[in-house]
């Protein structure tokens, strides 16, 4: 390591060195912790957290993401605006005065709408990835644990589904199932579980041969118990990394759906829906209806990607120590 160690890292290095010291009568003398004291043992997860915290960019992205989530969900408390009744008399007002970011074609306050659209975009992003990760983890774990012919069959199904372009099949389904947060989350979620399923299966295949799994199996654990107590918790690191990318992808896909007109139903909205007429806004010079929404969307996706990259590196550290 070329970087100077942080105080906590130094303590850990010292602790490891102090374990084994030359004893007074020659030979090695082990220093045992005194009664009641517990030695500081750095678990894999703590290492991963520390590694993540050392990545300044990722920490900044995390703080920014939390700030944006706070802005969307707590913002309406402090900045109240009418988002239910359209008022054509005040449409297309430029920013300034009582409307921080102007108004859109229905006379809704754009700044307040940014929060409202953000709420549904973030909800759908989180919900779709939750659906995907639950299906994917269970599918991958079951496939990997059973193995053999069933595994082959289950993975061929994943291959086939992966060959269908994601955006196209989602658009096809969205022609009928759009308009509500639940519909869009499910539509996005049920076609995003394929990659997590593959990753978890790969992880389970290596875990399956490890001693603790073999031991649990020998002691008569049921398959359900093996999956939920041993395999899924240990495959969790792969899953967590994937979730951040899934959220980013879902928010992007939702924006595309909204832009193409298959998003939420009026008066509900998400960032993509707000950009549905963006081409006209750009041509009419109504920049406040385009760039704030697009900007915040890009920032959220960028933050998720940065956090995901940093988490992957952090988890790698954990795996290396294991």
């Amino acid at each position: 390591m070329t970087e100077p160690l942080s105080p906590s890292q130094q303590m850990e290095e010292l602790g490891r060195a102090a374990l084994v010291l030359p004893g007074p009568g020659g030979g090695l003398h082990e220093l045992m912790p005194e009664g009641g004291q517990v030695q500081v043992v750095s678990s894999g997860w703590r290492l991963a957290v520390r590694e993540f915290a050392s990545n300044r960019l990722a920490v900044f992205a995390l703080v920014l993401l939390i700030a944006i989530i706070g802005f969307c969900f707590l913002g309406p408390v402090f900045y109240q605006s009418n988002q239910t009744y359209s008022n054509p008399l005040v449409s297309y007002l430029a920013p300034g005065g009582s409307h921080l970011l102007g108004t859109d074609e229905n006379g809704f306050d754009e700044f307040g709408r940014l929060m409202l659209g953000g709420q549904s975009a973030l909800e759908i992003g989180a919900f779709a990835s939750l659906v995907a990760i639950v299906i994917g983890t269970l599918y991958g774990a079951i496939s990997g644990l059973i193995g053999g012919f069933v595994d082959g069959l289950m993975m061929r199904l994943v291959d086939i589904l992966l060959s269908i372009p994601f955006l196209l099949i989602v658009l096809v389904l969205a022609t009928k199932y759009n308009g509500t947060v639940l519909d869009l989350s499910l539509v996005l979620g049920v076609f995003s579980w394929l990659v997590p399923a593959r990753l978890v299966r790969g992880e389970v295949l290596t875990l399956r041969t490890r001693d603790f799994v073999q031991a649990a199996q020998t002691m008569g654990s049921s398959r359900m118990r093996l999956i939920f107590r041993h395999l899924i918790p240990n495959a969790m690191s792969v899953t967590i990394v994937n979730v951040t990318f899934l959220i980013a992808d879902s928010i992007l896909a939702l924006a595309l759906l909204g832009y193409l007109g298959f998003g939420l139903q009026f008066p509900h909205t998400s960032w993509g829906d707000m950009l549905g007429n963006a081409q006209n806004y750009v041509q009419n010079g109504q920049w406040w209806l385009v760039y704030p929404v697009g900007g915040i969307l890009v920032v959220v996706v960028l933050c998720c990607n940065l956090i995901g990259d940093a988490l992957r590196d952090a988890v790698d550290v954990r795996l290396r120590r294991r």
Partner: protein
């Protein structure tokens, strides 16, 4: 090699039948019969039943699927009742323009991404490298239509260099080729999106190669840096890009969709978008199948191309 290709083609056929079955099932579930479209909403139940019977929509789903597959084998992808044309005629009309847009964007993105990635690797951790990485990361996180909007704002409206959309005079592939200025913006948008992912891989692959002994040898024997980079590094560093291009072929089609809608460019993507609005299920089915076919073929072509370019790779 030939045996490998034949085996992979066999697997591809099976995968495609699976894809067709799943897509057909979804679309059939969404709309069991186009009778309402043809006869109008005021039609009677009896008229629908007789229309279904006449056109074979009263048969079991499995039989309908098999007869659709049989048609596909003969190049018949069904009939678009909304546009009153066969789907294959519609695709034949639009495929050329889409392929031209994708092809031009692919070539342009490679021309930009390969030198950019190598330059970033050679000057790694320099301000320029950081700037390029940051830009790539931002582009990578951007919805394609938003990038297109930004380019329209600056290149078309503010500076007036390119027209903001494709004009209605571009009606054939030939027109698209002889009026390249009409297509500059769509091509640039699509290329920049590809550059964002290509140059990332190119940079890391070039970094790996730069650390190899043969590069050190080439430098030690006194070759100029230009020769080291173009003769020795380039060929080896491009190997992962071959795979990437193969894998990105389907994304070019899906990416086309948004770009064609944004710039109102009459290609397959716009056809699909209009089919979504109507909705026109046979067109949707055929376009999704085309996307899946390109995915499967893209994978196969990438594997074969890498094995051809890199003798160390053995296919079996």
């Amino acid at each position: 090699m030939l045996g490998y290709i034949i085996r992979r083609l066999g697997v591809a056929v099976i995968v495609m039948i699976g894809v067709a079955a799943i897509t057909f099932a979804i679309l059939h579930y969404l709309s069991p019969t186009p009778a309402y479209t043809v006869l109008g909403s005021k039609t009677t139940h009896a008229a629908i039943l007789s229309w279904d019977k006449q056109h074979g929509y009263n048969r079991s789903e499995l039989v309908q699927f098999l007869s659709y597959l049989g048609g596909v084998v003969h190049g018949n992808f069904g009939y678009s009742y909304k546009l009153n044309q066969t789907v294959s005629a519609l695709f034949k009309e639009n495929a050329g323009r889409s392929a031209y847009l994708s092809g031009a964007a692919l070539v342009l993105s490679l021309v930009i991404a390969v030198p950019l990635g190598i330059a970033q690797a050679v000057k790694r951790n320099s301000p320029g490298d950081y700037a390029a990485t940051a830009l790539n990361f931002t582009l990578y996180s951007m919805p394609s239509f938003f990038l297109g909007l930004i380019l329209i704002q600056f290149l078309a409206l503010d500076w007036g260099i390119f027209p903001p959309g494709v004009s209605d005079t571009v009606t054939s592939t030939w027109q698209a080729i002889v009026h390249p200025q009409q297509l500059f913006l769509p091509i640039i948008t699509l290329s920049l999106l590809n550059v964002a992912s290509f140059s990332r891989y190119m940079r890391s692959s070039a970094l790996d190669e730069l650390a190899q002994d043969y590069i050190r040898l080439a430098r030690a024997k006194g070759l100029s840096e230009r020769v080291v980079l173009t003769r020795h590094l380039l060929r080896n560093a491009c190997l992962p890009i071959i795979t990437l291009v193969g894998l990105s072929i389907p994304y070019l089609v899906a990416g086309n969709l948004l770009i064609e809608v944004l710039f109102n460019y009459p290609g397959l993507g716009l056809l699909f978008y209009n089919a979504l609005q109507l909705p026109d299920y046979n067109v949707m089915l055929a376009y999704t199948l085309l996307g899946a076919l390109l995915t499967v073929l893209g994978n196969l072509i990438a594997d074969v191309a890498v094995a051809t370019a890199d003798p160390r790779v053995r296919l079996d």
